[in-house]
Protein backbone atom coordinates (compact mmCIF):
# COMPACT_ATOMS: atom_id res chain seq x y z
CA UNK A 1 0.00 0.00 0.00
CA UNK A 2 2.77 2.41 1.03
CA UNK A 3 4.73 1.52 -2.08
CA UNK A 4 1.86 2.80 -4.21
CA UNK A 5 1.88 6.31 -2.78
CA UNK A 6 5.18 7.45 -4.38
CA UNK A 7 4.00 6.00 -7.68
CA UNK A 8 0.75 7.90 -7.47
CA UNK A 9 2.58 11.10 -6.52
CA UNK A 10 4.97 10.65 -9.41
CA UNK A 11 2.06 10.14 -11.77
CA UNK A 12 0.35 13.25 -10.43
CA UNK A 13 3.48 15.33 -10.94
CA UNK A 14 4.02 13.81 -14.37
CA UNK A 15 0.55 14.65 -15.60
CA UNK A 16 0.29 18.00 -13.82
CA UNK A 17 0.85 20.54 -16.54
CA UNK A 18 -0.56 24.01 -16.99
CA UNK A 19 -3.97 23.30 -18.39
CA UNK A 20 -5.91 25.99 -20.18
CA UNK A 21 -8.18 27.59 -17.64
CA UNK A 22 -11.87 27.70 -18.28
CA UNK A 23 -12.97 31.20 -19.07
CA UNK A 24 -16.17 33.02 -18.35
CA UNK A 25 -18.62 34.72 -20.66
CA UNK A 26 -17.10 38.16 -20.12
CA UNK A 27 -13.76 36.98 -21.51
CA UNK A 28 -15.42 35.32 -24.50
CA UNK A 29 -17.30 38.54 -25.21
CA UNK A 30 -14.14 40.60 -24.81
CA UNK A 31 -12.20 38.36 -27.18
CA UNK A 32 -15.02 38.42 -29.71
CA UNK A 33 -15.00 42.21 -29.65
CA UNK A 34 -11.23 42.43 -30.01
CA UNK A 35 -11.08 40.00 -32.94
CA UNK A 36 -13.90 41.89 -34.63
CA UNK A 37 -12.14 45.22 -33.97
CA UNK A 38 -9.13 43.84 -35.79
CA UNK A 39 -11.33 42.98 -38.74
CA UNK A 40 -10.77 39.23 -38.51
CA UNK A 41 -13.50 36.72 -39.37
CA UNK A 42 -14.81 34.95 -36.31
CA UNK A 43 -18.48 35.44 -35.60
CA UNK A 44 -18.31 34.62 -31.94
CA UNK A 45 -15.66 33.21 -29.64
CA UNK A 46 -16.94 29.98 -28.16
CA UNK A 47 -13.84 28.87 -26.27
CA UNK A 48 -10.88 30.65 -24.82
CA UNK A 49 -7.80 28.93 -23.44
CA UNK A 50 -5.65 31.04 -21.19
CA UNK A 51 -1.99 30.68 -22.08
CA UNK A 52 -0.68 33.29 -19.70
CA UNK A 53 -1.30 36.83 -18.51
CA UNK A 54 -3.35 38.61 -21.16
CA UNK A 55 -2.67 35.76 -23.54
CA UNK A 56 -5.46 33.57 -24.95
CA UNK A 57 -6.15 31.16 -27.72
CA UNK A 58 -9.63 31.97 -28.91
CA UNK A 59 -11.68 29.47 -30.85
CA UNK A 60 -14.42 30.98 -32.97
CA UNK A 61 -17.79 29.59 -33.93
CA UNK A 62 -16.69 29.48 -37.56
CA UNK A 63 -13.66 27.33 -36.67
CA UNK A 64 -11.02 30.07 -36.83
CA UNK A 65 -8.51 30.17 -34.00
CA UNK A 66 -6.58 33.24 -32.92
CA UNK A 67 -3.95 33.99 -30.37
CA UNK A 68 -4.95 37.21 -28.64
CA UNK A 69 -2.34 38.81 -26.41
CA UNK A 70 -0.86 42.09 -25.38
CA UNK A 71 2.61 43.06 -26.53
CA UNK A 72 4.22 46.44 -25.95
CA UNK A 73 0.90 47.85 -24.75
CA UNK A 74 -0.86 46.78 -27.92
CA UNK A 75 -3.37 44.04 -28.50
CA UNK A 76 -2.08 41.55 -31.04
CA UNK A 77 -4.40 39.11 -32.82
CA UNK A 78 -2.63 36.33 -34.69
CA UNK A 79 -4.30 33.58 -36.71
CA UNK A 80 -3.35 30.10 -35.55
Amino acid sequence: MHARIPALLAAAVLFAQPTPAATDDAVLKDLTAVITLHGKPCGEVTRADRMGDNDFIATCKDGNRYRVRTKDERVVVEKQ
Binding site: A26, V27, K29, D30, L31, A33, V34, L37, H38, N54, V68, T70, E73, R74, V75
Partner: protein
Protein backbone atom coordinates in the same frame (compact mmCIF):
# COMPACT_ATOMS: atom_id res chain seq x y z
CA UNK B 1 -70.27 19.03 21.35
CA UNK B 2 -71.46 18.31 17.84
CA UNK B 3 -72.96 21.81 17.65
CA UNK B 4 -69.64 23.41 18.54
CA UNK B 5 -67.93 21.32 15.88
CA UNK B 6 -70.50 22.40 13.30
CA UNK B 7 -70.09 26.03 14.28
CA UNK B 8 -66.33 25.78 13.99
CA UNK B 9 -66.68 24.12 10.58
CA UNK B 10 -69.06 26.84 9.37
CA UNK B 11 -66.72 29.54 10.66
CA UNK B 12 -63.73 28.00 8.86
CA UNK B 13 -65.68 27.61 5.64
CA UNK B 14 -66.85 31.21 5.87
CA UNK B 15 -63.31 32.47 6.27
CA UNK B 16 -62.04 30.34 3.40
CA UNK B 17 -64.73 31.49 1.02
CA UNK B 18 -63.84 35.14 1.45
CA UNK B 19 -62.08 36.17 -1.69
CA UNK B 20 -59.10 38.39 -1.28
CA UNK B 21 -60.07 41.88 -2.27
CA UNK B 22 -57.32 43.86 -3.87
CA UNK B 23 -56.11 46.52 -1.54
CA UNK B 24 -56.70 49.92 -2.98
CA UNK B 25 -53.28 51.43 -3.59
CA UNK B 26 -52.57 54.91 -4.72
CA UNK B 27 -51.40 55.03 -8.32
CA UNK B 28 -47.67 54.99 -8.72
CA UNK B 29 -46.69 58.51 -9.59
CA UNK B 30 -43.11 59.58 -9.89
CA UNK B 31 -42.44 62.19 -7.29
CA UNK B 32 -40.61 65.17 -8.69
CA UNK B 33 -36.97 65.45 -7.80
CA UNK B 34 -36.50 67.61 -4.78
CA UNK B 35 -33.30 68.85 -3.21
CA UNK B 36 -32.52 66.88 -0.06
CA UNK B 37 -32.77 69.94 2.14
CA UNK B 38 -36.26 70.82 0.87
CA UNK B 39 -38.70 68.89 3.00
CA UNK B 40 -42.43 68.81 2.92
CA UNK B 41 -44.28 70.19 5.90
CA UNK B 42 -46.02 67.45 7.85
CA UNK B 43 -49.51 66.81 6.61
CA UNK B 44 -48.98 68.39 3.23
CA UNK B 45 -48.87 66.49 -0.02
CA UNK B 46 -46.55 67.30 -2.91
CA UNK B 47 -48.01 69.52 -5.56
CA UNK B 48 -48.94 67.64 -8.72
CA UNK B 49 -46.40 68.01 -11.48
CA UNK B 50 -47.35 67.79 -15.15
CA UNK B 51 -46.13 64.51 -16.66
CA UNK B 52 -43.95 66.16 -19.28
CA UNK B 53 -42.16 68.13 -16.61
CA UNK B 54 -41.76 65.14 -14.35
CA UNK B 55 -40.11 63.03 -17.04
CA UNK B 56 -38.03 65.70 -18.76
CA UNK B 57 -34.30 65.31 -18.06
CA UNK B 58 -32.57 68.25 -16.48
CA UNK B 59 -31.38 70.65 -19.16
CA UNK B 60 -27.92 70.95 -17.62
CA UNK B 61 -27.35 67.20 -17.82
CA UNK B 62 -28.26 67.07 -21.51
CA UNK B 63 -25.99 70.04 -22.21
CA UNK B 64 -23.07 68.41 -20.40
CA UNK B 65 -23.56 65.12 -22.21
CA UNK B 66 -23.54 66.81 -25.59
CA UNK B 67 -20.07 68.22 -25.03
CA UNK B 68 -18.09 65.08 -24.39
CA UNK B 69 -14.52 65.89 -25.36
CA UNK B 70 -11.71 63.45 -26.10
CA UNK B 71 -10.57 63.34 -22.49
CA UNK B 72 -14.12 62.84 -21.32
CA UNK B 73 -14.65 60.09 -23.86
CA UNK B 74 -11.45 58.38 -22.76
CA UNK B 75 -12.51 58.60 -19.11
CA UNK B 76 -15.96 57.21 -19.84
CA UNK B 77 -14.52 54.37 -21.92
CA UNK B 78 -12.08 53.51 -19.16
CA UNK B 79 -14.79 53.36 -16.54
CA UNK B 80 -17.53 51.60 -18.49
CA UNK B 81 -18.16 47.96 -17.74
CA UNK B 82 -19.70 47.41 -21.17
CA UNK B 83 -16.39 46.38 -22.69
CA UNK B 84 -13.54 44.23 -21.44
CA UNK B 85 -9.89 45.06 -20.91
CA UNK B 86 -8.69 43.69 -24.26
CA UNK B 87 -11.32 45.73 -26.07
CA UNK B 88 -10.42 48.86 -24.13
CA UNK B 89 -6.74 48.45 -24.97
CA UNK B 90 -7.50 47.69 -28.62
CA UNK B 91 -9.67 50.81 -28.83
CA UNK B 92 -6.93 52.87 -27.20
CA UNK B 93 -4.47 51.53 -29.79
CA UNK B 94 -6.79 52.54 -32.60
CA UNK B 95 -7.39 55.99 -31.10
CA UNK B 96 -3.61 56.46 -30.74
CA UNK B 97 -3.08 55.38 -34.36
CA UNK B 98 -5.66 57.91 -35.52
CA UNK B 99 -4.09 60.65 -33.41
CA UNK B 100 -0.72 59.86 -35.00
CA UNK B 101 -2.28 60.36 -38.43
CA UNK B 102 -3.75 63.69 -37.32
CA UNK B 103 -0.35 64.69 -35.95
CA UNK B 104 1.17 63.93 -39.36
CA UNK B 105 -1.54 65.96 -41.05
CA UNK B 106 -1.10 68.95 -38.72
CA UNK B 107 2.66 68.63 -39.12
CA UNK B 108 2.19 69.59 -42.74
CA UNK B 109 2.66 66.18 -44.35
CA UNK B 110 0.04 65.11 -46.85
CA UNK B 111 -1.35 62.55 -47.28
CA UNK B 112 -3.30 62.12 -45.12
CA UNK B 113 -5.70 64.91 -45.93
CA UNK B 114 -8.70 65.76 -43.78
CA UNK B 115 -10.83 64.03 -46.39
CA UNK B 116 -8.78 60.88 -45.87
CA UNK B 117 -9.02 61.11 -42.11
CA UNK B 118 -12.76 61.64 -41.86
CA UNK B 119 -13.76 58.05 -42.82
CA UNK B 120 -11.17 56.67 -40.39
CA UNK B 121 -12.62 58.81 -37.64
CA UNK B 122 -16.22 57.89 -38.49
CA UNK B 123 -15.36 54.20 -38.53
CA UNK B 124 -13.72 54.41 -35.12
CA UNK B 125 -16.68 56.26 -33.66
CA UNK B 126 -19.02 53.63 -35.10
CA UNK B 127 -16.91 50.86 -33.59
CA UNK B 128 -17.08 52.51 -30.18
CA UNK B 129 -20.82 52.99 -30.48
CA UNK B 130 -21.49 49.43 -31.54
CA UNK B 131 -19.32 48.08 -28.75
CA UNK B 132 -21.10 49.95 -25.97
CA UNK B 133 -24.63 50.43 -27.26
CA UNK B 134 -26.07 47.29 -25.69
CA UNK B 135 -24.56 47.52 -22.24
CA UNK B 136 -24.00 51.26 -21.90
CA UNK B 137 -26.55 53.01 -24.11
CA UNK B 138 -25.99 56.30 -22.29
CA UNK B 139 -22.34 56.33 -23.33
CA UNK B 140 -23.25 55.31 -26.88
CA UNK B 141 -25.67 58.24 -27.05
CA UNK B 142 -23.09 60.65 -25.68
CA UNK B 143 -20.52 59.45 -28.20
CA UNK B 144 -23.00 59.95 -31.03
CA UNK B 145 -23.85 63.44 -29.82
CA UNK B 146 -20.19 64.40 -29.42
CA UNK B 147 -19.06 63.14 -32.81
CA UNK B 148 -18.95 66.54 -34.48
CA UNK B 149 -17.46 68.30 -31.44
CA UNK B 150 -14.58 65.84 -31.25
CA UNK B 151 -14.03 66.02 -35.00
CA UNK B 152 -13.86 69.80 -34.70
CA UNK B 153 -11.09 69.49 -32.10
CA UNK B 154 -9.13 66.97 -34.16
CA UNK B 155 -9.43 68.85 -37.42
CA UNK B 156 -8.40 72.21 -36.01
CA UNK B 157 -4.63 72.60 -35.59
CA UNK B 158 -4.86 74.94 -32.58
CA UNK B 159 -7.42 72.79 -30.75
CA UNK B 160 -5.52 69.63 -31.59
CA UNK B 161 -2.36 71.04 -30.03
CA UNK B 162 -4.16 71.27 -26.69
CA UNK B 163 -4.93 67.53 -26.55
Amino acid sequence: MRTIACLLLALTAGCASQSKQPVAMPPAVAEPARPPDQKLAPGTSPAPVPHALATAPPAAKVEAAAHLDLKGLERRLRSTSAIGLFTKLALKNQVDDLLTKFRTYHGGKQPPTLTDLRPNYELLIMKVQSLVQNDDPLLAGDVARSRETIWGVLADKTSFATI
